[in-house]
């Protein structure tokens, strides 16, 4: 490995009202290196990256490329210095197509003077998608693309112009394993070309797999920086959260009781004839590949997607939600897949977001009960270990993982009968993930039925009592989760059963 520095950061500081996000960070990234950057939610990783991208202004700090100081005042400065970015939050213009999104902010190829050369643009886009080995429709507004494809568009943006240092802030949270492998091979290629990749993730296995060196941040400071070969998952966790974590999954409490929800022959444009039941206190996993209809199934039960046919019974009574409002009123709630788009109102306070689903309970005759809102929100927030200086702050000021906890807190406040989780730990750090798993277990132990969808199969295997597998909208298997290992799990997802 060459030891030449591609980028060095000295004494970087940034504070927000009430929070010191970065307290004098010193770190350097070498050429030809894949560098892991990890730390708890709110440790300051994204802030560091946003400063380098010219989106956020630092309070103090200097940057050096090959020992020459550079200034970063805007995203232009940043990209002209060879820095490329995949940001944690998808920031796509939803009514632009993939090409337009990928080249947003960069100059388009032109012809006849000022006219955009769409053909050339398409060619350049295809070159990028070829390197990434992905294909998604280039001409349709990205709002029509699947969540995975949207994530790939965001990734492709980093490759609109050639860079020297690529910053990837949790690029893989919305990807399937297949896309993730593609991304990893792209990273390897970059490394072979002598470029630098800074990889931020809460998936420590990934970090250990692909990086050469790892920097651990805690509370806005660097606490450790070592070669990956000298680190293990346990040492990473203990330096991240400042203590050891015995296991990734809390102990299973209680056991399932009588049937709570049963669905039969559910069908619509994405799912075909699905039937299963959920018992009170049970954690049911829905296994399958991205695009198999898992999300659509949850949405159908939640009333946000219409059913063509099928029946549902909740506690023995007919359950026919025509909107999320009906579902919530019946005690069926959903933690949706995309928190920014579906889960949160960024411009409103944490209080308002947590209480949003429960306003009817937190008011008297339409008048808000501010005291109750305050108490119950804090209660729910504490339960998920939400880290925030003040619940009156906008949700947009929270770190990504803490935003996810707000979505979670919102549904927990409801004391749901049926809790459906679509990618519940997206962007959540190991410590808090354990907390969230504990809450899921506690809720189940108190009689809530839980349905969980996750592209992290360890999560499904670690939590679920039983797993229903679906493929292309059809139900393929239903298995007790007693002797399923990772390999057989994947086989079931692909609709294969090995003997």
């Amino acid at each position: 490995m060459s030891e030449k520095q591609a980028l060095r950061i000295e004494n970087l500081k940034k504070s927000y009202p009430g929070v010191k996000a970065l307290k004098g960070v010193n770190v350097s990234f070498n050429e030809g290196e894949v560098h892991g950057l990890i730390g708890e939610n709110g440790a300051g990783k994204s802030t560091l990256i946003k400063i380098l991208a010219g989106i956020v202004k630092a309070d103090t700090g200097s940057f050096f490329i090959r020992d020459e100081e550079i200034t970063i005042r805007s995203s232009k400065d940043s990209s002209s210095n060879g820095l490329s970015f995949i940001h944690q939050e998808l920031n796509l213009v939803t009514y632009f197509n993939a090409m337009e999104n990928i080249f947003l902010g960069h100059s388009y190829p032109r012809r006849f003077g000022p006219l955009v050369d769409w053909k050339a643009l398409k060619k350049r886009t295809q070159k990028i998608t070829d390197t990434l080995q992905v294909s998604f429709p280039l001409d349709r507004p990205v709002s029509y693309l699947s969540a995975v494809d949207r994530a790939m568009v965001a990734i492709a943006r980093a490759f609109a112009v050639d860079g020297n240092v690529y910053f990837m802030d949790e690029p893989a949270t919305a990807l399937t394993d297949i896309e993730k492998e593609k991304l990893f091979s792209v990273i390897k290629n970059l490394k072979a070309q002598g470029k630098t990749v800074v990889y931020v993730s809460h998936n420590l296995d990934d970090v250990l797999q692909i990086t050469d060196r790892i920097t651990v941040m805690r509370d806005g400071a660097v606490v450790e920086c070592k070669k990956t070969s000298e680190m293990t998952k346990d040492t990473l966790i203990s330096s991240m959260i400042g203590k050891d974590l015995e296991s990734s999954f809390p102990k299973r409490l209680g056991s399932p009781a009588e049937t709570l929800l049963s669905v039969s022959h559910l069908s619509n444009s994405h799912i075909r004839d699905l039937s299963f039941s959920l018992r009170a206190g049970e954690i049911l996993g829905i296994g399958g590949l991205v695009g198999s209809g898992r999300t659509e199934l949850l949405e159908s039960i939640f009333g946000s997607r219409a059913l063509f046919s099928g029946e549902m019974l909740l506690e023995g009574d007919s359950y026919k939600p025509s909107s999320p409002k009906d579902a919530i009123a019946s005690g069926v709630v959903l933690v949706p897949e995309e928190r920014r788009k579906q889960g949160l109102v960024m411009s409103r306070s944490i209080f308002e977001n947590i209480s949003m689903m429960s306003l009817a309970d937190l008011s008297h005759g339409g008048l808000l009960d501010h005291q109750a809102i305050k108490e119950r929100s804090h209660e729910a927030g504490d339960k998920v270990r939400l880290k925030s200086a003040d619940y009156r702050n906008h949700v947009g000021t929270l770190s990504g993982g803490n935003q996810q906890k707000v979505v979670f807190a919102k549904t927990v406040l409801q004391q749901p009968k049926v809790l459906m989780l679509d990618e519940p730990s997206k962007g959540v750090d190991v410590g808090a993930r354990f907390e969230i798993y504990s809450i899921i277990q506690e809720l189940a132990a108190s009689g809530t039925g839980v349905i969980i969808v996750s592209s992290d199969f360890n999560e499904v295997l670690g939590l679920a009592d039983r797993i229903v597998f679906i493929k292309d909208g059809y139900q393929t298997f239903e298995k007790e989760n007693s002797d399923i290992d990772q390999e057989s799990y994947l086989n079931y997802c692909y609709g294969r059963e090995l003997s």
């Binding site: 309070d59 909107s323 409002k325 788009k341 579906q342 409103r348 009817a360 008011s363 808000l368």
Partner: protein, 322 residues
């Protein structure tokens, strides 16, 4: 790039201060300037009362528009609703119907007109701009048709009370304005309805998935806007003691301008009722002050436009600093 953290902190706090209070300070500055130039006329009790009375109707209408604009919608039809309701109420009274009953019918008509907007936009899926542009045209057409394009005079004596009477030293129109502001404030800040409005304005999809009936709330918001537009129209008719089929048309732009000005005050980029009041006052003081200085009304319009741009610009600059 290199700056001490202390400087930076100070700068940030100044930024936040300007963001919250800048528009109010601008307003006070405006008052001070006019008072300094014409100390004999402008700050006199009579003139100030005059200003308040002048802006009372606008602030009633603008309060309603605030509700609609919180969800990200827009209402171009308030001026036309005010005119239409003014005409209808006036004609009903002339036809011999009791004053109170006529007013009640007028309010019902205006609220229904607003709800029709809501129906077209929230349930029909038209954009608020296009939807209310269309109904604005239709409502003003109706006002002109019913009145045959002429001013309606000869209203009953007891109808003067709303726009011209007073209770002690407080004009009735100002009392109605204060009650409206208070009512809207309570609605926005103290009720679940208000919370839901702001939530929809911030993220409609997330609101829907949180169990909020987003269409219904937007529908009702248009109804509220229609109600206050008609209330403003009735008070205006009483103040003028006659109804003209286009009397309300200045409301359309002025109410929107006031809400936009108000979005620069107290809260960042969000419509709020005290901001709207401030916006209305700024426009009222500008009009009155420039009148006193003898500046011609056409030039006044230009200046008002400039002021709006400046206010919004300044507040967005302060925002960037943070």
């Amino acid at each position: 790039m290199k700056q001490t953290a202390l400087d930076n902190d100070k700068e940030k706090r100044t930024g936040a201060f300007i963001r919250t209070w800048g528009t109010l300070i601008g307003f006070l500055l405006l008052m001070t300037i006019f008072s300094a130039i014409r100390p004999d006329v402008f700050p006199s009790g009579r003139n100030l009362k005059n200003i308040i009375e002048q802006v009372a109707t606008l602030s009633i209408v603008a309060s309603g528009v605030t509700v609609v604009m919180i969800t990200g919608d827009f209402d171009l039809s308030v001026g036309a609703i005010a005119s239409l309701v003014g005409i209808v109420t006036a004609l009903l009274m002339k036809a011999g119907m009791g004053t109170f009953a006529s007013i009640l019918i007028g309010l019902t008509l205006g609220t229904s007109a607003g709800l029709l907007n809501g129906l077209i936009i929230a349930y029909g899926g038209l954009s608020a701009f296009v939807g209310t542009l269309a109904t604005m045209t239709a409502y003003s057409g109706a006002a002109l048709l019913i009145s045959k394009g002429t001013t309606v005079f000869g209203l009953p004596e007891n109808f003067r009370f709303l726009g011209q009477g007073s209770l002690g030293f407080l004009p009735i129109s100002v009392i109605i304005m204060l009650l409206t502001l208070l009512g809207i404030y309570i609605l926005l800040e103290q009720t679940t309805f208000g919370r839901r409005l702001y939530a929809i304005g911030g993220n409609e999809e997330a609101s829907f998935l949180s169990g909020i009936r987003t269409k219904q709330i937007r529908f009702i918001a248009f109804g509220i806007s229609g109600f206050f537009a008609s209330l403003g129209g009735i008070v205006l008719t009483s103040r003028l003691y006659s109804a003209h089929p286009q009397a309300g048309s200045p409301f359309m732009l002025n109410a929107a301008a006031a809400v936009f000005l108000g979005m620069t005050a107290f809260r960042e980029g969000e419509a709020n009722v005290w901001g709207t009041l401030l916006g209305v006052l700024i426009m009222g003081v500008m009009g009155n002050g420039l009148n006193i200085l003898g500046i011609n009304t056409y030039a006044q319009s230009i200046l008002t436009g400039v002021i709006i741009v400046l206010a919004v610009l300044l507040s967005s600059l302060a925002k960037k600093k943070a």
